[in-house]
Amino acid sequence: MATKLNPVDVLIVGLGWTGGIIAKELASTKLKIVALERGGPRDTNPDFIDPEIHDELRYAARYDLMQNVRRETITFRNGESQTALPMRQLGSFLPGLGVGGAGVHWNGVTWRWLEWDHQPRTRTVDKYGEKIIPSDMHLQDWPITYDDLEPYYDKFEKTCGTSGKAGNINGRKIDGGNIFEGSRKEEYPNPPMIAAQSMVMFEKAARNLGYHPFPNPSSNASRDYVNPDGVAFGQCHYCGFCERFGCEANAKASPHFTVIPLALKNPNFELRTNSIVLKVNLDSTRKKAVGVTYLDARGREFEQPADLIILSAFALHNVNLLLQSGIGAPYDPATGKGVVGRNYAYQCGGGATAFFDKRTVLNRFMGAGALGTCMDDFNGDNYDFVKAGYIGGGGISCSNSGARPIQSHPTPHGTPRWGSEWKKAVVDNYDNAANVGNQGAVMAYRQNYLSLDPTYTDVFGRPLMRMTFDFQDNEVKQMNGQADICVTIAKEMGATKVDRSIPPVPYSIVPYQSTHNTGGAVFGADPSTSVLNKYLQVWDVPNVFVTGACVFPQNAGKNPTGPVGALAYWAADAIKNQYLKNPGPLVPS
């Protein structure tokens, strides 16, 4: 039997970037706020200190900071004709666990998505006509534009101390920055990071080919920095242990040392760790949430009543919670009706590995998560969709995020996997290979979606969520087209050998590709094709808001955390200045 607790005003489910931002932004309201985090507490000291954090086996290979699929996982299939089976171990993507969430172990690449990414349907139809859109593609505009979000992008960059170079300030294009970006009001809070040798070579090659390379916007601080909230960052060590690791220097922006401590200063805020929310409870009208049911570390069940509920867990968990709770109609691909689980998308990859002769010294191990040089010449709608044969391209970049040898010992295609010949190839190429990669958009489709599995359950007895996903023709064409461009750049860099590759098709849950799982609870202007209105408020249950990458109608050729953070500030603003003054739907449905 659940123990019923005293009601609170605001309940936050999951304390990563978005839950942390909202908790901090609502502190001034004096409302009683409780955050429930399914993982444990942690802090830079003692959890991420040097040298213990520099442990590739523990953090990168054994996933120490990640979700444990023994307790909760998903099932997966490529299409309707298959029976979904459990993802029995982590692979393709790595959801986080614990205070700070994936914001602890991300790389720190912090984009503003391109203007096209906010209005892909309108801008595609305007330029190419309706006919270019495949019939099964759910190409869908955001309910807000880049310009609406600009001040919130700015706010998140300042929170994170993002290091970069603007390419468009108030409409003025600036060489060396990303000339394809939407107009910014201000420069980045910190200058770009120091480029590694491979990036210097990539930049020169890209310019020779007539492209427009620029430094990745990086939330690995290029210098000591104090953000507008008074939080101090250290300069990045370029230690090369970044993605999958916590940062010993507080150089990689993370909610655990920025927004969350500020939220915790509020005497009306309480954080309960090791508390897993099983579902959101609705009243008899199904139009109002009354609280959540959760388990504590000892497995005791509690009912926590609340007036306002924010679902700010990882993208996949938010969708799972909506499905478990019966909030919003589940999507049915047969009828096209329903919205929860609709428009699940992912990320395209692939590219080229460039091998150089021994005179080139890369020192790949001197790296940082977001250290890279990128170009958007084939991203958004900066290229010709008809000529290329695909909608939604990708960023092409050369990154130098480290060279941890268990997982990074590149050898040319055709090298044996073991034995003396393998070893010689590893030694010959360990510091002589650079990657030129595509991070490609994935559009949403009728047949790619999330739902509840009919067979498997988690350790708490709930149905597992089922993922039905495959790369479609548009994405396969994109990965191939972009890989060809990567090969051309790699050759221009002076590579003596270039290997081209794209991720497995059909999509495979096995090899790591990206933790950019998007969609499933998208925001939009039309309740028949979206779960949330433009303020991230659930159309059907207005006292529930949902944040994170699950709100994107499709994925872009860019990392998601920039708009995820910006939208959390956007939603916090709407909650504080509109919803709390007059609780109810902020947009008529």
Binding site: P51, P86, R88, Q89, Y238, M366, R417
Partner: protein
Amino acid sequence: MSKREKNGQGDVGRRDFLKLFGAAGAAAGTLPFGGSASADEIVAAAATDTKHHHAAEPHTRGGGYEFFNVDESAFVEAAVDTLIPKDATGPGAKELGVATYIDRQMASGYGKGDRLYLEGPFGEGTPEQGYQLPMTPSELIRAGIADVNAVVQKSHKNSFAALSAKDRAAVMADLEAKKTDLPTVPVATFFSLLLQLTIEGYFADPMYGGNGDAAAWKMIGFPGADAMYADKIEPFRNKPYKAEPKGIQDLI
């Protein structure tokens, strides 16, 4: 900035080490009597065991098996020696302690499936759906070793560990090419896990028992855990940076 105060005595290191592996792993008195361990290795292992006051000591050379029985440890030593042999390029996996590494991994939470979803029903699925066996890594490795030894016993009238280096390489090549049918485990899954564990042990931090003296890092030029390059990344652009590799225990 958040660097822990150095502890010159190494006591903290040892305590952490014991916490990580359990007392049995760090100070076990059992020697690998079976298998292909040379007299030198047994002496080295004994020496390590008697001066186990400092966790940063090379404790990797055969220091006792927690999980494998004598037949299994002999197999694993021979297998890692075949997958990454000692040669002109650099050290082999066996001499760096990779068999010990795999043994400890099998005895650890990882080996026992602490991060595996193992609820049924079980089905074979497609390659894209990934691992679907009802076995933990340690169960899979144990069954696979028995399988391979049984097959080799039949074909060569001997155990895998007793074969010549050439014959062992041929057996491995057949496993990799799925030319061998194993009675219990899928051959590709077993071979991939064995290879993965071997490469992990070879390149992991020395404190995990493989990569003795960080020799594999030395071979490729990876400086290891001592990683602070803010003042080096620019001056060393296209210039060799040489540093004696350091493991975590060297820095505590």
